[in-house]
């Protein structure tokens, strides 16, 4: 109550300051006059009475000030005054102000942008009801598993989900879901949208309410599915249907199957996956309809689902985990794929389920970007430190020109505390302006960052709306930088001795080395930190260069992949290979096409097939069988990708269903299995879930990368498409051509349409796929490069500033030296020696920092170590060069001083 009254009365006197002041003045002077009158009554003269009162009561002004400053509002008031004074000061030196705000804004902006991304992918909870109750169900430490994997989260199979739903006890509700890409085009070139398979409990469990129509419920997800239904996201509704309410009667084609739209999800709900979004959600039961022959729904070896649930009140994640663990043996027994061989089955039956916290959703981005983002935040932090040091340097320079003014104010009785507050107000104002501008920069920067990581095939959605964490972070940075760059100069300035300062001449005395020492320390640390950043940037740039220039074993440029899906044509199994071959021949006939071949796997696309290899004709391996990567190709594949055949031959027309199974292997395979001998003519077996088949090696080819450019060459087996037992209803054609991409894709589209207009076609370029795989490396190289340039510029400005200051301060000394006959060259040497000392100290500390800090980046570098001597050398050399240039300017100026003029100015 009294706090409130205090606040109210304080505010009243703050807003009616004049009146409050007048009242206080009147009351006080009344008091003093009454005291004087009392004394006059006792017989003193008016003059004497007044003097006596003044002696007793002290200075009127001081008393008034004391009463006024006893209230909280006077603090606010004086702070406000300080800010206004600071504003005037800053307006007086616009160049300094602009430079300071800009450098702070860049530093704070970079930090905030990166923090915003970390916040979005790492710290936020899901935008659903009580997110802390949401947990994920998955196999604890699954390790390797056998089967077909699809979707980004192939945690479980449908059979497992079915069992979990029936047997779990820790969750009030559980749901299964899996992301997928749907084709919504009626035929021809595909139109991709981001899809979700969801079980009937999905929306209900998460507590999502529709903004239009209704959402999917358990009754919509029954085996068989009837006429399937779909829920669309808010953004898809706006984008594709212009937000029309009539969308509810519409039908959406998903892989040519009609789905009736029954509702629209709210705008803030983008699924349970952070960093991604969905356009359409359909029930799990519709998966067989959409995927047809390749459906995972019935297959017990099809891993495609992720399961999450809402914990019952009173159940912790640990307790739910223990219950899941307890039901695991029976559960995996019941969902064992019948086609598993004994070794697979044994491994499978040992799985244990567990529950894991998932209040902030799932994200594969989190794994791949957590370390780069944290590292970038560290780098951005260094930039901010350098910017602060730079600013501290500028503030010190400004302060030294104001020493006199401060001295006069101190002599007139200004309190040191108040002076420090006033100087800090200036820093705070700069920091706040810098932070405000930085926040605006950050908004754009983080959007650019997300956009640069998002690709057409892998679109990202990151919620970048500002929240309290980001706001707090930015404000924290502002205050921190303000203290970093403002406190030391303020303390230093306010501690001047007025007697000394006022006695000093305008120029001449070198005002104590200690005063100058702080600025040297700042410059040395700037150089050290910027060297660290420069080394980091060069490391990432060279690592990217290594990756981009890497010989992956195949041609990367001018290769186009055309993916043709002919499912709608209902071609019988035994005619499919012939149909695909016919398509291939037609593509080969297109003018400009140099070479083309069929391949199930495109290298570096992220797709892969792996099988057990059993060496020789007979015999079982001890323990787990070694695994090799597979690709099923047609004749001409190696010619198309220009991978050299080292020995033996390519597949040819004689390799058919009737002839023995032929295989081509790479060098890594030969090294591992044939002990480095030429493997052509040797025999091995391939064990799949269903069968074990015998193969004869007919060719040896060069090593190629399979999944990823960073991997070591792995053993690869190529088998002939013509001998493939279970051909699918698609053809993936890899094409090398001289023609431009646009002309080529339309020619292929025309060719396919001439065969049958009902096929789906999509294209991708190998170069683009590979570059998209290097996004993370490119991001690191670009951003760290940007930071390093910023850092070096700031550090060099700092060095230049200090050297110029030194030259100005020592103008007289230099003039005397020159008057006594010193050559200009010796003056330049004098200045350069000084800056060389600073540079050397900075470089030594920076090298140590770079070597220590580089360890954090080890895992992200390719083809070089963080201690790479060439990189370090290049960074040292380039930084020394610009630093030398920066100090040559003031040195040169000093050497051209007219000594007579300088001495006359004294």
């Amino acid at each position: 109550m009294s706090l409130l009254r205090n606040l109210a009365s304080g505010l009243r006197s703050l807003f009616r300051k004049k009146q409050a002041d007048r009242e206080l003045t009147e009351e006080l002077s009344g008091f003093l006059e009454m005291a004087a009158e009392e004394k006059i009554k006792q017989g003193m003269s008016r003059e004497d009475a007044r003097r006596a009162v003044r002696l007793e009561q002290g200075n009127f002004e001081v008393t008034r000030e004391a009463v006024r400053s006893a209230t909280w509002e006077s603090f606010v008031d004086s702070f406000w005054q300080d800010l206004r004074y600071a504003t005037r000061q800053l307006r007086g030196s616009p160049l300094f102000t602009a430079a300071a705000i800009l450098s702070l804004a860049l530093g704070i902006g970079a930090n905030t942008a990166i923090f915003q991304l970390i916040d979005a992918v790492r710290l936020r909870t899901l935008p659903v009801k009580n997110p802390q109750e949401i947990a994920k169900v998955a196999i604890d430490h699954r390790g390797g598993a056998s089967g077909d994997f699809s979707t980004r989260y192939p945690d479980l199979t449908y059979a497992m989900w079915d069992q979990i739903r029936k047997q779990q006890q820790g969750f009030s509700e559980v749901f299964a879901w899996g992301p997928n890409v749907f084709n919504t085009a009626p035929g021809g070139e595909v139109h991709k949208v981001q899809g979700l398979w969801v079980s009937g409990e999905f929306f209900e469990t998460l507590g999502v309410t529709p903004i239009l129509g209704r959402l999917l419920g358990p009754e919509d997800d029954q085996p068989g599915c009837g006429s399937p239904l779909a829920v669309i996201s808010y953004s898809f509704w706006q984008r594709e249907y212009g937000g029309e309410r009539s969308v509810l009667e519409r039908t959406l084609l998903i892989n040519r199957q009609p789905f009736r739209i029954i509702g629209v999800a709210p705008s803030d709900f983008t699924g349970v996956e952070v960093g991604r979004y969905f356009d359409v959600a359909v029930p799990l039961c519709s998966e067989p309809l959409v995927n047809g022959e390749s459906s995972q729904w019935k297959s017990r070896a099809g891993w495609w689902l992720s399961v999450m649930g809402r914990l019952k009140p009173g159940w912790s994640v640990e307790r739910a985990s223990a219950q899941l663990r307890a039901i695991s043996p029976g559960l995996f027994e019941a969902s064992l794929p019948p086609e598993f061989n004994p070794s697979n089955a044994k491994h499978f039956l040992q799985y244990k389920l567990g529950a894991f916290p998932a209040d902030s959703g799932l994200s594969d981005l989190r794994q791949s970007y957590q370390m780069p983002l944290c590292l970038l935040l560290g780098l951005a932090g260094l930039v901010l430190l350098i910017a602060s040091a730079n600013l501290a340097n500028l503030m010190l320079a400004r302060a030294s020109t104001r020493e006199k003014e401060i001295g006069v104010r101190l002599a007139l009785g200004a309190g040191r505390g108040r002076l420090i507050r006033q100087l800090l107000a200036e820093s705070l104002l700069l920091a706040l302006l810098g932070a405000a501008l930085g926040a605006i920069l950050a908004r754009n920067l983080s959007q650019v960052l997300v956009a640069s990581l998002s690709t057409q095939n892998d679109p990202l959605f990151v919620d970048l709306s500002a929240d309290w964490r980001m706001l707090g972070f930015t404000m924290g940075l502002a205050v921190l930088t303000c203290i970093l760059f403002g406190l030391a100069p303020a303390l230093r300035t306010a501690s001047v001795n007025p007697g000394v300062v006022l006695k000093e001449g305008t120029r001449g005395t070198t005002a104590g080395r200690s005063r100058f020492g702080l600025r040297r320390v700042l410059v040395v640390s700037q150089i050290a930190l910027s060297l660290t950043l420069l080394v980091g940037a060069l490391l990432f740039a060279r690592s990217l260069n290594n990756l981009a220039g890497l010989d992956a074993g195949f041609r990367q440029n001018g290769i186009l992949t055309a993916y043709i899906d002919f499912t709608p044509l209902n071609i019988p199994k035994d005619a499919r290979i012939a149909f695909a071959n016919d398509l291939l021949q037609r593509v080969r006939a297109i003018p400009g096409v140099e070479s083309a071949a069929l391949a199930t796997i495109v290298p570096i696309s992220g797709d892969g097939i792996g099988h057990d290899i059993l060496w020789g004709q007979t015999g079982e391996p001890e323990g787990d069988a070694p695994v090799a990567d597979f690709n099923i190709i047609s004749q001409g594949y190696f010619d198309t990708l220009q991978t050299k055949i080292l020995s033996g031959r390519d597949f040819n027309d004689h390799d058919t269903n009737g002839s023995p199974n032929a295989a081509i292997v790479n060098e890594a395979f030969a090294k591992q299995f044939a002990k480095g001998m030429n493997p052509v003519g040797m025999i091995f077996r391939v064990r799949t879930l269903q069968t074990t088949r015998l193969y004869e090696i007919i060719g040896l080819v060069r090593n190629t990368k399979y999944f990823d450019l960073r991997e070591d060459f792995q053993p690869i087996v190529y088998t002939a498409k013509a001998q493939y037992a279970t051909p699918g209803t698609d053809a993936q054609i890899i094409i090398r051509s001289r023609a431009g991409l646009v002309g080529l894709t339309s020619a292929i589209k025309n060719t396919a349409e001439a065969v049958n207009p009902n096929m789906d076609i999509s294209f991708s370029s190998l170069r683009t796929t590979i570059e998209e795989g290097l996004l993370r490396d490119r991001l690191m190289a670009r951003l760290s490069g940007f930071f390093a340039v910023l850092a070096v510029v700031l550090a060099v400005i700092g060095l230049y500033g200090v050297m110029s200051y030194m030259v100005a301060r020592r103008r007289n000394e230099i003039a005397i030296r020159m008057a006594l006959g010193a050559e200009p060259a010796s003056i330049i040497r004098l200045v350069m020696r000084e800056s060389g000392t600073l540079l050397l100290a900075g470089l030594v500390i920076g090298t140590a920092l770079a070597l220590a800090g580089g360890q954090a980046a080890t895992a992200m570098l390719f083809g070089l170590k963080p201690t790479d001597p060439f990189t370090l050398g290049a960074a040292l050399l380039s930084l020394s060069l610009v630093a030398a240039l920066a100090s040559l300017l003031p040195a040169n100026r000093a050497s051209r001083n007219d000594p007579m003029k300088a001495l006359r100015d004294e």
Binding site: S2, S9, G10, E27, G30, M34, A35, E56, A70
Partner: protein, 110 residues
């Protein structure tokens, strides 16, 4: 800085002002004179510390003030106790008595 009379126990100034105002509303100078008289010149308070205390007590809701004419025809701010102030004075007086008695007992015991 207002120099507080060192011989005035910390916090007792408020209580003395409340006590002075218990009889009738008074202006600042009146309070200072009355305090000096009642303490027979032991407590001499300067304007600074008095006014800071007035401000504090008023903000705490223990005093209220009003501009009135003095007997000499001058305008002055008269302070008087609020209901809350009266209660506070009673409780503080009681507490003070208890403390003084306790301190006296300790001093006599030795």
């Amino acid at each position: 800085m207002p120099d507080k009379p060192t011989d005035l126990v910390q916090g007792t100034l408020d209580m003395l002002i409340l006590k002075t105002l218990a009889l009738e509303p008074m202006h600042g100078y009146g309070i200072s004179v009355r305090l000096e008289q009642m303490s027979r010149g032991v407590f001499r308070l300067n304007a600074g510390s008095l006014f800071v205390a007035f401000q504090r007590l008023q903000r705490a809701g223990l005093l209220k003030s009003e501009w009135k004419a003095t007997e000499n025809g001058r305008r002055a701010k008269y302070y008087s106790l609020t209901e809350q102030g009266r209660k506070r004075l009673n409780s503080e007086t009681r507490e003070w008595g208890r403390q003084v008695a306790a301190i006296a007992r300790i001093l006599e015991a030795s």
